[in-house]
Every structure is written in C-alpha cells, then in structure tokens.
Symmetry: C4
Subunit: 202 residues, 4 copies
C-alpha cells in the first residue's frame, strides 16, 4: 500500500502538476503578446498598406512586444531555476503561485497598452509596476520554496532568493526613476541585475 501511495505522490501532492500548469499559462501569455500585431495586420490589409508602412505605424507595438517577450522569458527562467518538482504543495504556496501568474497573464494587456497609447506617467508606472510586482512575488515564492524544502529535509540552494530579490529591487528603482522621467529606457538599468545579485550573495 505504501508503494501505491509513493507512486501517486510525484504529481498529486508535489509541485509537478502545478509547474506544468503554470508553464502552459506562461507559454500562452508569451504567445498572446502578438495579438496587437495581428490586429494591426488586418487594418494594414484593409488599408492596402505596404510592409514598410505597417512597421512604421506599429513601431512602438513591435518594440513593446520584443521587450515583453524578453521580460517573460527572463521571469520564466528565474521561476524555472527556483522551483523543484518534488517540493510538497500547500494551499498558501499554490495561491502565491497564482498571484504571480496573474502578473504574467496581464502582461499582454499591459504590453498592448504600452504599445498603443501615448507614453505618460501612469502608463509607464503600469508597465514597470507589473514587472516589479511580478519580481516581488517571485521573491516571496523563493522564500516559501526554501522554507518548505528545508522543513521536509529536501536539498535546497541557500541563495535561491538572491536573484528574484535583486530583480525586485532593480524594478522598484526603475519604477521610481520612471515616475520622475516617464520612459521605458530605464529598463536598461536592468543590466545591473547581475552585479547586484553578486553583491547580495557575497
């Protein structure tokens, strides 16, 4: 009987199915980033535009798409490095994961807004704010993950939370800078993530 229970454990009471579900939802959010570009094509088709006119008219949407693609890929990589499939699940842990997933799911909406509306303070705040919220939730996930694994005696990386913490700090700084001068160029400050993480681990 204990054999049977062990057999059912991997995906039912551990994180395996949760991770697979999150991955599917992240992959969809990543792909739905193209929706505003698709809509632009049907308008361009109706207006008999050329490719050059399409690219010119949707330059900010193309940039926003590329930026958000990189951001979601980066978040996925961090999430992937943090979560192990054999960590036991709990109600609180699952809810935290869904809160984080929420920030990823709305990325296509926030990206479409960023690419489609005039750049102003609230718009920059909504975009970078979503990224910052996502990073802080990822930090919380890392803390809970480490604690859960330690509690049941599973191996874990001590510096698990350093990467999401440095990312959360960078995005929060970017958000503050973006409030002073509303621009997305602050996101290049992101390049500092590596060094900051290095400092936190030392």
């Amino acid at each position: 009987m204990s054999d049977k229970i062990e057999q059912t454990t991997p995906s039912a009471y551990t994180s395996e199915r949760l991770i697979a579900f999150l991955d599917a939802a992240i992959a969809i959010a990543l792909t739905l980033l193209i929706l505003p570009l698709m809509e632009g094509v049907s308008e361009a088709s109706a207006d008999r535009s050329s490719l050059a006119e399409y690219v010119g008219a949707h330059a900010s949407q193309l940039l926003a798409f590329g930026l958000s693609f990189v951001m979601i890929a980066m978040f996925w990589r961090l999430h992937h490095a943090m979560l192990l499939p054999d960590t036991p699940t709990s109600r609180g842990r699952t809810m935290l994961q869904f809160a984080w997933l929420f920030t990823i799911t709305i990325m296509p909406v926030v990206t479409a807004l960023t690419g489609g509306l005039e750049t102003d303070r609230p718009l920059v705040a909504s975009y970078i704010g979503t990224l910052a919220a996502s990073a802080w939730l990822l930090f919380a996930i890392a803390v809970v993950e480490r604690r859960t694994r330690a509690a049941v005696g599973l191996p874990y990386t001590a510096t698990l939370a350093a990467a999401p913490l440095s990312m959360a700090l960078i995005f929060t700084l970017t958000l503050l800078l973006g409030m002073v001068v509303p621009s997305y160029f602050w996101l290049f400050v992101m390049a500092l993530t590596g060094p900051v993480r290095g400092l936190l681990i030392r």
Copy 2:
C-alpha cells in the same frame, strides 16, 4: 511482456494524459480571459485615450476578469487535489471530465458578457449558474474518482467529495440569492465554503 505492458500503462490507460490535456485547456481558458481587455486596448488606441480613460471605460471588464481568474484558479486547485494520475480511465469518466471542461471553456465568454453587458437577472444567472454547474460536475467527478479508486484497490481520501459538494451548495445558494437581487456581490458568500466543508467532514 508484462513488463512492457506495465511501462505503457502510466499514460495510456491511466489519467495522466487526460489530466495533462485538461490542464492545458484550463490554462488556455484562464489566459483567454484577457481577450476583452485586449480588444478594449485597440479601441482606446484608436480613440487616443489615456490609461485612466481606459481603466474607467473598462472597470467592469477588469473586475470580471479578476473574479474569473480567481474562480478558475480555485476550480483548478480543487480538480488538482481530487484527481490522481494513476486512476484508471473509462469512457464515462472521460466524458464527465469533458463536461466539466466545457463549463471552464465557456468561462471567458460568460466573463466577457458579464463585463460587457448591463447587469440583469439572466446575466447574473448565466455567470453564477456556470460556476454552480462546474462545481456540481466536479462533485460528480469526485464521487466517480473515489468509487473507481476503491474498486481497483487504490488508496483514496474518504472526504474527497466534501470540498466540491460544499462549493456546489454555496454556488447554488448564491444563484438563488442572485435571482432575487441580481448582483455579483453574492459571490462573497463564497467565503463560507471553508466552514461548510468543515461541517460536512465532521
């Protein structure tokens, strides 16, 4: 030869592939909840609206999106806690799962209607009614799951059906209240699910 058969068993004759399929479909339904918001962005872009104007014009859609996100997440968690991948499949069991999936798949449509049309009795009934139907089907799934596992001697939780039953009762009550006074605020009655479940288990 028996070795080979055992090797093929996990995903072919058990619930593993069915669960993976359902999860993919649920993840897509969850993400497609953003479609009305995406459409709103292209309108806002054409009208040269600000973010504040967009949020103001789509407040009910944003609320409906958030509510449905929580509801689908809650249903997924319950489904996840109930189904074990080593339960043998059967025609009836698979059909029941697809009937339940149907209620999740139409959630983006019902959510879009709720966020886009004027609140009246049929609209509230369609939204809460979909949730109630989903919960009753989940209760049926739990009953079948418990019976199937018991029949083949696999371990199961005796109180498996308590959570979906309490949820189905709560949604049915909410539906009745929503028929008297058409409003979505009744869904906060949902907070009672925990205590009711506690009573059913005792």
Copy 3:
C-alpha cells in the same frame, strides 16, 4: 552507456513528446472554438444588447461551438486510446500525425464558418468533410501504429483500427447524405458508430 541511452529514449525517440505536443495543440484548438462567441460579445456590448438578444443573435454559433466541442473531445479520446507513448517515432508517422492535427487546427475556422454563414451545400460539405478527413487520417494512424508496434515486438490491440474506421465510414455516409439534403442533423447518424464498430470487431 547503455543505461544513459535508455534514459534518453522515453521522450526523444518514442512518441512521448509528439503526443504531448499534439495534445497541447488540440487543447488550444478546442478552446479557440469560443473566439466567434467572444467577438459577438464585443458587438453586443457596443449595441447595448441584453443576454437574451445576444443568445438569439448567436444561436447558430452557440450550437456550432457545442457540436465542435463534442467532436474534438471525441477525436481526442479516440487518439488517446490508440497511441501509446513507447511506440518508436518515424518521419512518416510524425507527418501523418501532423496531417491529422491540421484537420483539428482548422476546426475553429470551419466551425466559425458553419455558425456564421448561411447553410448551403458547400458549407455542410466543408464541416462534415473536415470531420471525415480527420477520421480517415485517424484510421491511417491506427493502421501505422499497429504495424509499428508489431514490428518492434511491443504489445498492441488487434482491433485498434476498428473505432476510427467505423467513425470514418459514418462521417463519409453523413457527408453523402449532407450532399443530398444540406443539413447538420445528419451528424446524429453518428449515434450509429457504436453498433457499426461492434459489427467490425466481430
């Protein structure tokens, strides 16, 4: 070394990853069936329609959605019962699977056409013809699957191809009837699948 090769075998050279990929694509096609209904909501919202008016205006789309949901679910179940993850892959076998996937991927388009345009002979032919093509390809997949498993000494079900064959025959008959009197009601002939399969197995 042989140990390592065995470890890499399950998902790299067998059907495991192919099946997972197909399942993801089928789940998306199943969920994208709601797209015409979503579009209808934004029109209803612009026109300030009630739910009753929405349902009245989109009755044929709602019916087409429900019918195609059942059809794709049925095809998935058949596909699921036929394919085992440990069958070795081959170029021809993979191409056959993608040909079949093509018929599932266009189902949302064919469904939208069926729900949105006036019923005439070509429209009925395109809908039932897609189902028939899907069933014939599934029959070819079953034949190849049985032959592949037999060739490498894996266990297989002798009557594997009976279900898709009976379905293909039924859909072809339905197509012919639909050419005489263009109507979707012929699909209820489908109810005969069970008995026909029974005859083929005997």
Copy 4:
C-alpha cells in the same frame, strides 16, 4: 541525500521543463496561425458571403496558413530530433532557445502579413528571412547541444547539426532568389533539403 538530488535532477537542471515550455509555445503559435482566417469569417458573416466567396477572398491567407503550418511542423520535428531531455541546461543555452522561439512566435504575424498585404520584395524577405533566421538559430542550438552532451559524457549523434545547417543554407539561398524575383514559389526549392543534407553527412 544524493538520491534526493538525483530525483530532482530530471526536470530542474536538465532540459525537460524547457522542452515542455517550448513545445507549449510552439503549439500555440501553430494554432494562432488561424487567427486571420477567423477574422475573415466574421467579415464574411457580416457581408452575408457564401463559402465560395470567403475562400475566394481569402485564398492567399489560406495558402499562407497552410505553408506556415508545414514550416512550423518541420521546425518542430527538427527541434524534437535534436534536443534530448537529459542535456544539462545553462543560461546561454536557454537564451539561444528563446531566441529561436522568438522566430516561431512571430510566424503568425509574418504569415498574416504575407497573406494580407500585396507581395513585394520586403514582404517576401520578411517571410523567408524569418524562416532562415529560425534555421540558423536551430543550427546554433544543434552545435551547442552536441558540445554540451560531449562535455558531460552523454551520448550524441555526430551528424546532429547537418539537418539544420542544410535547412539554413537552403532558406538563405531561397531568400537571395526571393530578393531577385519576389515570390514564395522559391520555397519549393526546400525540396532540395534532403539531398544537401545527404552531401553534408558524407
């Protein structure tokens, strides 16, 4: 303890979860190819068109859809044959995979442009150029995959990079021809991939 670490290895530090994520995203991009066709249906519905009128008005979109479906299927098959789930992951390797995924994710946009706008030099270049970029990135992935597996002593196929290299060369040639005479018919040159690969392996 080493037992536990080994248990967590398969999907956390190897390519298993990365491959599953990529597959989900590819499956979505493949299915989103139908979006322009779906949009066409709602226009046809509003115009009370017949199926023949719809097919006539969207012939180039239907062709572009079919072509891109085959292309993505071909890329997936190649990717599938190259990547083994037990290859250790690394930051650079994951970034390369996401760069490749980017070329697949924009395929629905490029396909919609190809099917919707007038064929001119930049349009042909954007379509075939995306395919060429995808093939070159797949070649880079193959080179890294072979090197990574060799470095940790895992078995690998020596001719792993031959197929993506021949494909990259063919697409680059097609791109050059398409610059001289802008047409998609050059893609039939693709039929040469097999023989070229044969020469490279010898």
